[in-house]
């Protein structure tokens, strides 16, 4: 039943149009007065893709969303949707569905009239509109709520209505502006799963704005990490996490321990950083401008570090200073002289670690020979 909600295949079009990106931004710039909110953004979103714009507040992600929606005008560059230029197209002709953080349901209309609003604006015949509203309600599991008013619904139900209202017009792109941040934690998780299911079922191209890196990592096909008006990296969640392009991405996405180290040598497109007598192989590209001996910052994920006995070579000696029980894992904080007396966060699976490495225990930390990244010392962290 939900298949009919999906975009019908357009018969008049040739196959090569299919290879057009669903959304393409060519060097889009937006300024507010003297402040550049978005600096020459280049972005290509494929059909059916779930693309997340991730960054702290003020990074330009919402500006980018508003530019795609047509709520703001660009100061430079071009925007294409489905291969056609829409830079000058007013918002109401762009065929975009949007779900806001507060859902923005029309308070003076019933649920059915909210969902049918876009169909009425398009002049869809009444019978067909009623059928499509019914399907949309079934899709978001709210059949029977037609006559309710938005204020009579819970937050999660309001969000479903907002989603149905955006999807029922068969938008070319679905825009989601921090849609989960108003929900409590339990509901958020189930709504994320549900939204992802619906998105996959309909195959609708989706642009999702969030500042929550967990949300971004779990839901996206690709993530565009943004900071200070610039896109810092566009990659699959796994790559953003494992191969961050710069210091900002490395520290904003996931937890990271920053340890001062030294560049020893470069081998092809890899490089070797040394931490005392421990050698770690890292991607060489971020360190391309440095010569051997230069100081670098080694970024290690908490789960990459292992705790062992303090004796032995190639371990960093330290002292456990705190343990935080997290349910499925334990966060152990270890103070080590190798990290300039900073506390390193080590994530250990299972509760047995708590007894083995109590607070005050002398331990050794082992660092994997590969899988870490390093960047030149200094520069901007998150």
């Amino acid at each position: 039943m939900s298949i009919s909600l999906a975009e019908p295949v357009r018969s008049g079009r040739r196959d090569d149009v299919r290879s057009e990106a669903a959304v393409r931004l060519d060097g889009v710039t937006k300024r507010f007065g003297s402040h550049t909110a978005l600096h020459e953004a280049w972005l290509r979103i494929e059909r059916g893709e779930f693309m997340t714009l991730l960054g702290p507040s003020g990074c330009g992600k919402t500006t980018l969303l508003n530019l795609i929606a047509g709520f703001l005008e660009v100061d430079g560059g071009e925007i294409f949707i489905d291969g056609s230029l829409v830079t000058e197209t007013p918002a109401h002709r762009r065929e975009i569905g949007i779900v806001f953080q507060n859902y923005a349901l029309f308070p003076h209309m019933s649920v059915a009239r909210n969902i049918g609003y876009g169909l009425r604006m398009r002049g869809v015949p009444k019978a067909e509109a009623a059928r499509r509203v019914e399907q949309a309600l079934a899709l978001v599991k709210l059949s029977g709520y037609e006559d309710r008013r938005p204020r009579e619904l819970s937050g999660g139900q309001q969000q479903r209505v907002a989603l149905a209202r955006a999807l029922v017009i068969r938008p070319k792109v679905l825009l989601l502006d921090e849609p989960f941040s108003a929900l409590d934690k339990n509901l958020r998780g189930s709504m994320q799963v549900e939204l992802k299911e619906i998105q996959r079922k309909l195959g609708v191209t989706t642009v999702f704005v969030t500042h929550d890196q967990g949300e971004a990592l779990s839901m996206s096909d690709r993530i565009a990490v943004m900071s200070a008006g610039r896109i810092r990296q566009i990659a699959a969640p796994d790559d953003v996490y494992r191969q961050p392009a710069d210091r900002f991405v490395a520290s904003f996405v996931g937890d990271a321990n920053v340890i001062p180290a030294r560049l020893a040598e470069r081998r092809g497109d890899m490089a070797v950083a040394v931490l005392g007598d421990i050698a770690v192989t890292v991607p060489g590209q971020p360190l391309a401008d440095l010569s051997p001996g230069a100081p670098v910052d080694l970024f290690l994920r908490p789960e990459q570090i292992r705790v062992t006995d303090p004796a032995g070579a190639e371990v960093l000696p330290g002292t456990v200073t705190a343990q935080v029980f997290q349910g499925d894992h334990i966060d152990v904080y270890v103070q080590t002289p190798a990290a300039g007396d900073r506390r390193l966060l080590v994530r250990l699976p299972g509760p047995e670690a708590a007894g083995r490495w109590p607070v005050g225990a002398r331990v050794g930390l082992t660092v994997p020979a590969t899988g870490a990244v390093a960047f030149p010392t200094g520069g901007d962290d998150a």
Binding site: G70, P90, A91, H92, R93, A104, P107, Y117, G118
Partner: protein, 272 residues
């Protein structure tokens, strides 16, 4: 836990104070209402015996009848024009940033601080200077100026409470700017518009000071006719008219309350 004597006496005092204040608020109206039923042709309190004759007098007196008609005409025109003009200005001031914005806002709100007799006198002098007739047009214009700040305020508050994302959502769903206005903005502003209009109508209908200057025998409104009456007679007719006034206004507000809710009419309770 026992409260101290001081606490208890304070709370008794507090209650007495509240009762006293409420009493003073309704006292004038109560005195006038009782005086209206006096059978004698003097304004006295308490009355010796009761009668409805002054109500008959109030409802049949020619100047009051014509004053009521004039007042209604002026009120309907003035509050409706003020609503249109005030809503447009409120919209512009709320949505756009332009040169002289705060200056324009200041001028439009200035009738709040300029005495009404100054406005009435000024308009009288202007119309005399320009050789304009002192007809309904002048009275309506005067009232529009006087009630504009209240209408603007009311609409402005409604606009403040209107979530812009509702309009953006409608736009993304394919509504052109005109249809967004008709299907989203105006329906959601309706309580503010109605309350603004209602305030304007009540103010206009009761306005006396400025109206005294700009009306003639032909265009005089009810408050002006009442003033002229009381200069000549001192019987309870005015008291009877006051009772009718109070009853009519209460009925109007009750009607509005039944349809919109008093909170919405007074613009304190905004739907979100």
């Amino acid at each position: 836990m026992r409260r101290s004597l001081a606490d208890r006496s304070l709370s008794v005092l507090g209650r007495l104070l509240v009762v006293a204040i409420l009493g003073f608020v309704v006292l004038p109206a109560a005195v006038v209402t009782i005086a209206a039923f006096n059978s004698k042709a003097i304004l006295s309190f308490p009355p010796d015996s009761l009668s409805f004759r002054w109500f008959r007098q109030a409802l049949t007196y020619d100047d009051f009848r014509s004053g009521f008609r004039s007042g209604i005409v002026v009120t309907l025109w003035a509050s409706t024009l003020a609503l249109v003009v005030g809503a447009a200005f409120a919209f512009a001031l709320h949505r756009y940033r332009f040169r002289f914005r705060s200056a324009i806002e200041g001028v439009l709100l200035s009738p709040l601080i300029i005495p009404h007799f100054t406005i009435g006198l000024g308009l009288l002098m202007l119309s005399a200077q320009a050789g304009l007739p002192r007809g309904y047009g002048l009275v309506v214009f005067c009232h529009v100026v006087l009630v504009l700040p209240f209408v603007m305020r009311s609409v402005y508050i409604s606009l403040e409470n209107l979530d812009l994302r509702l309009e953006l959502a409608a736009t993304s769903l394919g509504a052109s700017p005109g249809r967004v206005l008709l299907t989203i903005t105006l329906p959601l502003l309706l309580p503010g518009l109605v309350s603004g209009w209602l305030f304007a109508a009540i103010l206009s209908f009761n306005e006396f000071t400025a109206t005294l200057f700009v009306t003639t025998q032909r265009t005089q409104t009810l408050p002006v006719a009442m003033y002229n009456y009381v200069r000549e007679y001192a019987d309870p007719t005015l008291a009877a008219l006051s009772v009718i006034y109070i009853a009519a206004t209460a009925a109007l507000l009750g009607f509005a309350n039944a349809y919109l809710g008093l909170g919405k009419v007074l613009n304190v309770d905004q739907p979100r």
